[in-house]
Amino acid sequence: MAASSAAGCSTSSNANDDIPTYEYIDINTKPFHVATFENLWKQTLNPKYYSIRDVHQETDEEFAEDIGIPTGTVEELKVICNPDTLRCHPENQPPDTDVVPADPGLMTLRMRKRRQDYRETLIRAQTCRQDLYAAELENLAIGKKPVDPEDLLPEGEIILSVNVLFPVITERFKHFKARQNLQVLGSQKLTDLRDAICCLSDLQVCGEFSDTPDMAPEFISKDLFKSAFLFLEGIFYNDMRYPECKDLSQTVREWAESHDMPTFQTAKMEETTFRDLKLKVGYPYLYCHQGDCEHVVLITDIRLAHRDDCLDLKLYPLLTYKHRMISRRCAVCNLYISRWMTTNDSFAPTDPCLFCDICFRMLHYDPEGKKLGDFQAFPYVDPGAFN
């Protein structure tokens, strides 16, 4: 389609355009074609350099042969350049790495010492729980090998790091940027990324269910409204996997046309892989679903896969960071996470009021499931649903 033709013309153009360079320094790059970029790396590199299966270590003989010096000299070099020469303490007395040495000469250490001394004066010094979870998540994936060897990552695969920001909906989002970091493979479809983005608005249930509380889970927005689009470098990628999907970008395009703006192209999300894209690293793009739930999406990095990465094909798109949110608990038991919100409720202390599923049913229905009293009940999706 339009996207593939755009990609096609870029591959035929000068290859130097696809070497990523800064458009604005430290902010974003100029647009480049991902597959061409990948090929450029592969052309310049010896496949041994980035191989993920290869456990072969270069021997001294190979090195000597390459450079053209006798093996004896290499032996000498090996002794001189041994990483042990970097050690600053006796071999059998490793220092305590938690302690900053007294009177450090390095600026970094001085600053860290100051910070550490300050933290010791605090009554309780906690590390941020977000950091704890992030570290846990990071350690989960590092160096993970697949159980089934068929799921091993293909040689020379590229990994894109994607940063998905969440729309500012509530007051609570004001002070931090809730975000989610993912790693996707170059061979994956855009729809794989779309399915991996966990947004609350996909789980919302519309409507009032006080008469039939058991029916509520059947009306999740994700199943009702399946359309979505990604907007990258002037092209709308629409999700058209299901017959009921609509072209959400149509309104925008029509508006643009009526305002003398350049016309935008469209393409199908399920037919485009990340390799086919032409994009800018670090540039904000848009992901829109549920009609108006808009996320800023950034591709922060593209690189060749490494031996220490998660090597299980099935785990991609891989979640590397997810902001954890505070859950709201039931007003009755204060134990379980809320599932229902009621208004005009004579049983509730506040209006609106939150209940967990058990308390809600115990309070508002008799054992036969008959509604007691007059109230309105709406399913409530907790912001911590994806924690």
């Binding site: 070497i19 902010i27 310049t44 350099y49 600053c88 600026m107 970094t108 910070r115 670090g282 950034l298």
Partner: protein, 354 residues
């Protein structure tokens, strides 16, 4: 984590400038400095769960630019050793990798080739070791980009002392530009001949440009280049001589004057370097400081508005409704606290300032 960029950078520059002073590219020299500075301790200290990894990442990305131009060969060698050291001494497992951008790869390869040609085998060995250990990520850009647009973008500061003296003349006059000049000259002569009254001969009245402009420029550039080379050689010699004997006894020859010119140039470049370091806004501010006193108050661009309580108090005091001493007295926050009991003061929340 961003607070650490400045100190990390200054530490890296410190070790590299010490390495520069040795005027050598040997790894032993670097390792000696490394051990003397106790550089691995840069990773020490209590850190939060993922702080260590983030810090390793940060220090590797900060040290990476020293491997690239515009720095001179020696600093780049130092940069490579520094990366090697940091990579092997970091405390996280698996180790954090060094990210190489595609646009820099060609430079790095050229650098390695240079090292090989001039038989710096330790440089080659260390580079090959890092590669065979798979210490590199082959990426699009040297760091992750998050579109952090700053109100005041930070200037890319290149440490001037680590650079080679730029060869501007060489850059300006290349063989192509010389050819261009000759062509233009030829064309000009032809046009002159065409418009003159005596056909085939240029008008003797129109004689504004030297006929041999091209060769003249070339010879001048060559002369300048030779002089530069000579100076460099002499500098090396004098450096050796200084090491051997006292360099006090100099006859006033042409060498002296050139040495003097060189000294002047170095002073100039040094002072220029300092100027570059001070940012534009600060320079402006310095001038202000000299001329007028009261304007200093406008220094802070963003005013912090005091809280409502403070503002009300200020208002009341300025209007004379309440006296300051009264305010002092009413500060007690518990009715049970007596005036003598000073220990029970309201706890001030402390915040760490970087």
């Amino acid at each position: 984590m961003d607070y650490f960029i400045e100190p990390v950078k200054s530490d890296c520059e410190d070790i590299l400038s010490r390495f520069q002073r040795t005027e050598s590219v040997r790894y032993e020299e670097f390792a000696a400095i490394w051990r003397k500075m106790d550089f691995p301790s840069i990773f020490y200290g209590k850190m939060a769960a993922n702080e260590m990894r983030a810090f390793s990442r940060l220090i590797l990305t900060t040290a990476y630019p020293y491997l690239l131009p515009p720095y001179n060969f020696q600093i780049r060698v130092g940069g490579l050793y520094l990366l090697y050291g940091l990579y092997y001494t970091q405390l996280v497992a698996p180790k954090e990798k060094i990210t190489i951008a595609l646009k820099d790869w060609e430079n790095i390869m050229k650098f390695q080739q240079d090292a090989m040609n001039s038989r710096h085998y330790d440089v080659c060995y260390i580079f090959r070791k890092l590669i065979s250990e798979k210490a590199f990520y082959f990426a699009a850009m040297p760091k992750h980009l998050y579109f952090h647009v700053k109100r005041k973008p930070k200037r890319q500061e290149v440490c001037e002392e680590f650079r080679d003296r730029p060869a501007r003349v060489k850059e300006l006059i290349t063989t192509e530009t010389l050819e261009e000049i000759m062509n233009v000259q030829e064309h000009y002569e032809k046009v002159k001949a065409a418009v003159s009254t005596t056909p085939g001969q240029p008008d003797p009245a129109v004689n504004l440009i030297n006929k041999h402009l091209g060769p003249m420029v070339q010879s001048t550039v060559m002369e300048y280049q030779n002089w530069l080379d000579e100076v460099a050689v002499r500098k090396n010699e004098s450096g050796d001589a200084a090491a051997a004997a006292d360099p006090g006894e100099g006859t006033s020859t042409q060498g002296d004057s050139s040495r003097r010119a060189e000294l002047l140039a170095s002073i100039k470049s040094k002072s220029y370097g300092h100027l570059v370091e001070a940012s534009k806004s600060r320079r402006h501010r310095q001038v202000e400081l000299d001329t007028s006193g009261p304007e200093i108050k406008q220094e802070s661009t963003r005013k912090t508005i005091p809280c409502l309580q403070t503002r009300t108090m200020k208002n009341l005091i300025s209007k004379g409704k309440v006296k300051e001493e009264v305010m002092e007295c009413t500060r007690h926050w518990r009715l049970s606290v007596t005036e003598q009991d000073k220990s029970l003061k309201r706890r001030v929340k402390k915040r760490f300032k970087y």
